[in-house]
Symmetry: C2
Subunit: 289 residues, 2 copies
């Protein structure tokens, strides 16, 4: 077994992805729903052993919510500005060949923020040259992360619970009956983005209901319009005209953010989030080996 | 039975209030949870008969969600600008002594909005001289209504689903465990109002979690801080410095909005919402008699 071979796990709240990485390349991968929210701390040794059983009896590097207060053990945050070297220097080893990568916290102008897992992808994107060392990165999702990079370090970041608000509105309350379909790019999504740019979220969202009642929005288009409002408000709060944004994401959500960034005057670039994760965790593994 | 005696019902989504009104004064009142969301159209005749059984065999004027597509029968919206005369002229009579007051819709600069029930309180406040004929009115709640009055008519209005967002966040998702307590005026509510004034709701709300994780916000204060964010964003989107706002509300929520309006540079005035409702529905009853 070569030193450059290990298992990387991106352990999220609701799901996880595991990769057998050889020389920086994922040669076997799996994804399942055994996220941190469905586990207790005592479950982790057996979970990791089972992953080793499937992907190989190898060292394991874990990023994400496994290191949170709902995970295996709480690993203190590294404070921004931070690099991959800082993360590698603050690994939490649960035994001599199993480590948890710390998350980041950020304190800036009276505001605070936290992330766990995204830091590996964002810094990995820079380490692999997928984004410039000085850049604005966006990782959209349940909790969208927007991070400023300077010289390859994350200097500051903001989280917006954009995806979670959509999920909450879809499950309960006034708009739930309208938000049962799928979100798709198109005219209603773009109309939503421009409405969201008013930065008046609670009123714009009521407009989904009002437009429906007055026959201006059909049921099929309501999810796209509502998603456009939320993404439009998120992007507007983060960019000025002409700003380059590097979107680290899966293809579908990345495309929606790409449309919104362009519509609001920014310049979007796309980066594959899995590629960025493997690049980041491989670099941490190298630094720790 | 004098002609000036009738029963007024404010039939909301989740609850309703009924009053026996004599000469413009409520002399008997009741409140229960039999709102429109828990009833089907066929339930209404028996419900109204039961209220008559308790409050008197009198004419009945109904405002609110009984006139919606989840109520007794759908009464078309009256278009703003609108006065109490316009509402009285568009009553929907279900029989010769039972009428439903229509709601209002508003189309302005490409935006649309709707209300059902609040129009009686807002126009009633003006008719009774509780607010000036030209004023900005706010009726905070699950769906906060902000209405501009000119010459005693509602000319335009906006709804913000401020209260509903708080309820959704309290029930499910990332912040639910922090939002179990009560909202109270004080330093954390005011801090939330100022954070909300950034008009970056999805990010400010994630800050409730981040401040909790980093030990900057204790559990008892989290609901007040989160409520402050939502109310602060709502008020900021609606007023400029020095703006007078007439808050038509129950005392508790009205006080929170009063604090936010003052903190954000406006001049708040308070109006009792029940008084305003009885004034408005009594005037409609007079006009229709």
């Amino acid at each position: 077994m070569a030193a450059e071979t290990f298992i990387a796990i991106d352990w999220g709240t609701s799901s996880r992805r595991s990769h057998r990485v050889e020389g920086g390349v994922p040669i076997a991968s799996e994804r399942d729903e055994r996220g941190a929210a469905g586990l207790v701390a005592d479950d982790y040794p057996a979970e990791v052993a089972a992953i080793r059983g499937r992907l190989g009896d190898l060292p394991v590097m874990i990023a994400g919510m496994a290191g949170s207060n709902i995970g295996w053990r709480q690993v203190p945050y590294v404070e921004a500005p931070a690099t991959l070297d800082d993360l590698a220097g603050a690994l939490e080893w649960t035994d001599e060949r199993t480590a948890i990568v710390p998350g980041l916290c950020c304190r800036e102008a009276g505001r605070v923020d936290v992330m766990r897992g995204e830091e590996v992808q964002l810094l990995g994107a820079a380490a692999a040259g997928l984004v410039p060392p000085d850049a604005l990165l966006c990782q959209p999702g349940t909790h969208s992360k927007w991070a400023g990079l300077e010289g390859g370090a994350i200097t500051a970041f903001v989280t917006a619970m954009t995806g979670e608000l959509f999920a909450l509105l879809s499950r309960q309350g006034l708009l739930a009956r309208q938000l049962t379909g799928t979100v798709a790019p198109g005219a209603e999504f773009e109309r939503g983005v421009l409405e969201g740019a008013r930065c008046d979220l609670a009123a714009s969202l009521f407009g989904v209901r009002a437009r429906g009642l007055l026959g201006q929005l059909n049921g099929k288009d309501a999810p796209s319009y509502a998603s456009g409002i939320l993404i439009g408000a998120d992007v507007t709060a983060r960019i000025d005209s002409g700003r380059e944004v590097h979107i680290v994401s899966d293809p579908q959500l990345g495309h929606l953010y790409e449309i919104a960034v362009r519509l609001l005057g920014g310049k979007p670039y796309r980066v594959d989030s899995q590629l960025a994760f493997v690049a980041g965790i491989s670099r941490i593994w190298e630094l720790a080996s």
